[in-house]
């Protein structure tokens, strides 16, 4: 029993996409730009050459926020989306009927359709792969060249993520929606 979360030192991100490949290889995700559990958000740069705004060109690594109050779980008519014992938002492919309510409800656009199973898929913090094998890191964290991510147990005061969140300023995405994300962006 844990309450897993992830802190992202997002200013480290160089948009190399190692995390995307590691996720796909580790979790057997389909090829294709629209099939991903994890991504790096990039904005079109503002300004005209050579007067460009560096700050407008930030890289925002993201994935499922594993909300404590997840809208996707709330709308699922078959309870295919559920919280596992570690607070990870998971999808039970057996129960999913591809009604796609969850995809519409998710404010973070974190869900996609796996064409093989015709069910909705999303990040599960490598619960059925790495964590199931006893690893303590996710594939995205482990491979990252600039070490953007720290994954860990939010309920354990001795965990590195707890220490980071006590000592570093951070924010959550769309916190005004009250979804209580468990992804924290360090500033």
């Amino acid at each position: 029993m844990a309450r897993y979360g992830m802190a992202l030192d997002y200013k480290n991100c160089i948009n190399c996409k190692a995390c995307e490949v590691a996720c796909k290889e580790e979790n057997g995700i389909l090829m294709g730009a629209d099939k991903h559990r994890i991504w790096v958000g990039v904005k079109e740069i503002e300004g005209e050459y050579p007067f460009l705004s560096i700050v407008s060109s930030s890289f925002e690594p993201s994935q499922c926020q594993h909300c404590d109050d997840a809208p996707c779980q709330e709308v699922c008519p078959t309870n295919a989306t559920y919280y596992d014992e570690n607070g990870v938002v998971r999808v039970n492919a057996e129960k999913c009927i591809l009604c796609s309510y969850c995809m519409n409800a998710c404010p973070y656009d974190a869900r996609y359709v796996d064409d093989r199973t015709m069910t909705v898929d999303k990040c599960n913090f490598c619960s059925d792969t790495r964590l199931a094998r006893g690893e303590t890191t996710t594939a995205c964290q482990n491979t990252c060249p600039t070490k953007v991510r720290t994954f860990g147990d939010l309920d354990d005061p001795n965990s590195e993520i707890s220490e980071l969140l006590r000592t570093r300023e951070h924010f959550s995405l769309k916190s005004h929606l009250g979804t209580k994300p468990k992804l924290f962006y360090l500033t």
Binding site: V21, E25, G28, M31, C144, K147
Partner: protein, 829 residues
């Protein structure tokens, strides 16, 4: 274990294919699986319960960095590559290419069997043969091409009639061993299309091509280097954890707004090819305002006064540089002052890249001297030389062939009124690739070169003017290509020898110098698939076939050798009355022949396996435990058991702070004089400016309506070598040409429109990406795309090949290819 259908089918196919061995397979499907252009993107893995799981420590070969990886092998299939945290160089990371290495192993288009050409040269028609038949074809040719024996016999044992060329890699050494034993003088590698000018300029100025301590630098100028995209370990990891007001101030100087610019504290758009003016102006500020480290300069500089006089007298002011570079004078003043305020913990980053402009050698000299002015050499937070762990020696072979001529260089006494070479001032070991190719095409060789051995190298894509490279390969009577993939160059081969990928072989153990030195070894993860072999096995098989017959040719033409064979063991006795008598030879003819042949036995360096050679090289210096550590962990350094520990879930300690080799030379440069060399008189003799100066011919200049073509790298592909990797292609399906948004609008070019890019050399068609990240008179696209080999399912005609349009302009000092000197026209098609 769950594996997607397509891969399972592929793996089953592997087994089946090797069983059906000798049955008829048509020439066209030798390269690919059944449907050559079936572009379904379905190869992915998912791991699960396997009967047998092994974790094997190895080193990546998806680019030049050699990062440490751990391969998870489930029931004989590699299912995941993870970073190996034990290697100080790569520090617990694998980039996207490192993760995608599995697809290099399981690429259905891989070269699987030895092949010999049955069609016209370049047509790509081959016949599958056995290894012995391939070696036999190399030795004695076929009805389509001559073999080594015939060519060498006709050229009277001039071994230099064969060119040997290789791409960068841990096993390049093994191939080069054949080159040395074979006795040719013609060796070419990546250096003149890569880092020749930067490495050499730092070499002559500071005595070595240094590393940068980006982990501790507080101020970094990164000019013409793009570490966020062109990943170099550990620099990339060290730099970007600390920029953006977090300990290191990063100034990015680049004509394009790169990912490095996005992570910088300041980005300055410079005119391409004018960085030298920028550095000279920084130097002017530092000298005129006397901001330099006077003690350091007094103790560690040669020729400082002459250089100071030159910079001041030439009035290389920021105001002067602003007009040339397009960087504001006030920015130049600020950067010069800030750099010296932070020095010695300030780095003008040397970079590691191709030569962009003709003044690149002088630019690098000016950068190295500027670094020295702040005293940031061989010191924490500055440029560092680091420590290197020595490895034991192993046996090579360098016979002396009396008939072998010297390197095919076109020397010219009249070149610009001084002695030197016709197309460059200095010839190094790596040679000048485009200089050599052009001399060969224009019949300016001092003797005939008729054949080439090409290892892990793709001249068709890697150097400017692809058309000329194709002509060269066609003109070459025998081309032997050793590679893992059916590249554009392989299509021009007469004999193709399939090497296994890096995950299927153990490579020569290597030492990695730096602040935290270590030794690392690429361990074999799985057995070679199909009939592929590691390079050392290929060298062994080839030399067993050709060694004796080639010795016979030497015997026929080499008089020194004939003499040695006739008279070995003979002694002359001079008697008291002055008469000379010869003793009867003490050795039989056979014994003499055996003893002489031993010096020419090409098989000798390849007798042992790579594993045995590595063990010997390591054990002789560090003992058995080191050998075991390398086999198990892939990494070793003395006291690793004491020093290495996890600091957090992400970070590791390799050496305690006091053990780190920040300073190995007392803060001095490594030149023979132990001084920063500002003024190199010996260069003047070769017609090279002895000190960095600006010349009018360096000015950035684009005719109205044309664009300067820029090229570069990024994090998702490595040159042309990874172009067929399906997972990487998933991240970036093809390359686009960057064109300024306002210009694109004027010309009616929208995102995704196809445009033709035209230069004096050729033309490519490529899709457009209108953006403000590039100047109105410049365009850019990434190198490595646009392959013409039909055997590459995903890379074939995918995007554009920059080298089709880049002109072959030769940099004058080392004969490097100047990649950013081409102007192009653009037209919507």
């Amino acid at each position: 274990m769950q594996i997607e259908m397509s891969r399972r089918k592929f793996l089953q196919g592997t087994v089946a294919m090797s069983v059906v061995g000798g049955t008829t397979i048509s020439a066209t499907n030798l390269f690919a699986s059944n449907d050559t252009h079936d572009k379904k993107l379905t190869i992915t893995t998912k791991t699960g319960a396997a009967k047998e799981v092994k974790n094997i420590a190895t080193l990546c070969e998806m680019c030049v960095n050699k990062c440490a990886a751990i391969a998870r092998v489930e029931d004989g299939v590699v299912t995941k590559l993870d970073p190996n945290p034990m290697f100080p160089k790569s520090k617990n990371m694998l980039c996207p290419r490192g993760n995608a290495g599995i697809q290099a192993l399981y690429d259905p288009d891989r070269l699987k069997y030895p092949l010999i050409r049955i069609g016209e040269k370049g047509e790509g028609k081959f016949k599958r043969v056995s290894w012995d038949e391939a070696y036999e074809a190399i030795l004695n040719g076929t009805d389509k091409f001559p073999g080594v024996a015939k060519i060498l016999d006709e050229e009277k044992d001039n071994r230099s009639t064969f060119l040997f060329c290789a791409g960068e890699g841990m096993a390049e050494h093994t191939f080069k061993t054949l080159f040395s034993a074979f006795g040719s003088a013609n060796w070419l590698n990546h250096s003149s299309i890569c880092l020749q000018t930067v490495a050499s300029a730092y070499g002559v100025t500071l005595g070595a091509y240094p590393q940068a301590d980006l982990d501790n630098a507080e101020y970094i100028i990164m000019a013409g280097a793009n570490r966020a995209e062109a990943i170099v370990t550990p620099d990339t990891m060290d730099a970007f954890k600390r920029t953006k007001g977090r300990g290191a101030k990063l100034i990015c100087i680049d004509p394009r707004f790169t990912n490095t610019a996005a992570k910088a504290d300041k980005w300055l758009a410079i005119n391409p090819g004018t960085d030298l003016a920028f550095v000279l102006a920084l130097t002017y500020v530092v000298l005129s305002e006397e901001l330099y480290n006077k003690t350091y300069v007094a103790e560690n500089f040669n020729g400082f006064d002459e250089y100071k006089k030159s910079v001041i007298d030439n009035q290389y002011t920021p105001e002067w540089a602003e007009k040339i570079t397009n960087i504001k004078a006030e920015d130049i003043y600020q950067i010069a002052r800030d750099f010296m305020a932070y020095a010695p913990k300030a780095v003008y980053y040397p970079g590691r890249r191709s030569t962009f402009s003709n003044n690149d050698f002088q630019l690098r000299r000016a950068m190295a001297i500027f670094q020295g002015l702040g005293g940031g050499i061989d010191t924490k937070g500055g440029l560092i030389f680091g420590k290197r762990l020595e490895l034991g020696a192993h046996e090579g072979l360098e016979p002396i062939y009396a008939r072998a001529e010297a390197r095919a260089v076109d020397s010219s006494e009249s070149h610009k009124g001084h002695s030197g070479y016709a197309d460059c001032a200095v010839v190094t070991d790596g040679g000048s690739w485009i200089g050599w190719r052009n001399r060969f095409l224009e019949d300016r060789m001092p003797y005939k070169v008729r054949g080439m051995f090409c290892y892990k190298h793709n001249p068709m894509m890697n150097m400017p003017n692809t058309k000329k490279t194709a002509q060269m390969l066609k003109k070459m009577e025998l081309v032997v290509a050793i590679d893992t993939m059916p590249s554009d160059t392989v299509m021009y081969a007469d004999v193709v020898l399939p090497e296994c990928t890096y995950l299927e072989r153990t490579d020569p153990v290597n030492t990695f110098g730096g602040v935290e030195p270590s030794i690392a070894q690429r361990n074999k993860v799985v057995d070679p698939m199909f009939e592929t072999k590691p390079i050392i096995d290929i060298m062994r098989g080839l030399t067993e076939k050709i060694s004796k017959p080639l010795f016979e040719i030497s015997k026929k033409h080499d008089e020194d050798l004939q003499d040695e064979l006739a008279n070995l063991g003979e002694e002359e006795i001079v008697s008291e009355d002055g008469n000379t008598t010869k003793t009867a030879p003490t050795m039989t003819k056979e014994e003499r022949e055996a003893e002489v042949y031993a010096e020419f036995d090409l098989t000798k360096p390849f007798k042992h396996s790579q594993e045995e050679i590595n063990a010997h090289m390591v054990e002789s210096v560090y003992g058995k435990e080191a050998v075991e550590a390398l086999n198990k962990n892939g990494v070793f350094y003395p006291n690793m058991d004491k020093f290495y520990k996890a600091l957090s879930v992400n970070e590791y300690q390799y050496y305690p702070e006091k053990e780190k080799a920040y300073s190995v030379n007392g803060g001095k440069p490594k030149t023979p004089s132990q001084k920063v060399e500002c003024n190199l008189a010996n260069l003047a003799k070769k017609g090279v400016d002895p000190m960095p100066i600006w010349k009018e011919e360096y000015l950035f200049n684009v005719p109205e309506g044309k664009f300067k073509l820029l090229t570069g790298r990024h994090a998702q592909f490595t040159q042309s070598g990874t172009a067929n990797n399906i997972v990487l292609r998933d991240l970036m399906p093809e390359n686009y040409i960057w064109i300024n948004k306002r210009i694109a609008k004027e010309r009616g070019i929208a995102f995704g429109d196809r445009v033709e890019v035209l230069s004096k050399t050729g033309s490519v068609t490529i899709k457009a990406y209108p953006t403000e990240k590039i100047a109105p008179n410049q365009v850019f696209f990434i190198h490595g795309f646009g392959a013409e080999s039909e055997a590459l399912t995903w890379a074939y005609k995918n995007g554009g090949n920059d080298n089709t349009v880049i002109e072959d302009i030769i940099e004058s000092v080392y004969g490097a290819a100047s990649m950013h000197e081409t102007n192009v026209e653009i037209r919507k098609v």
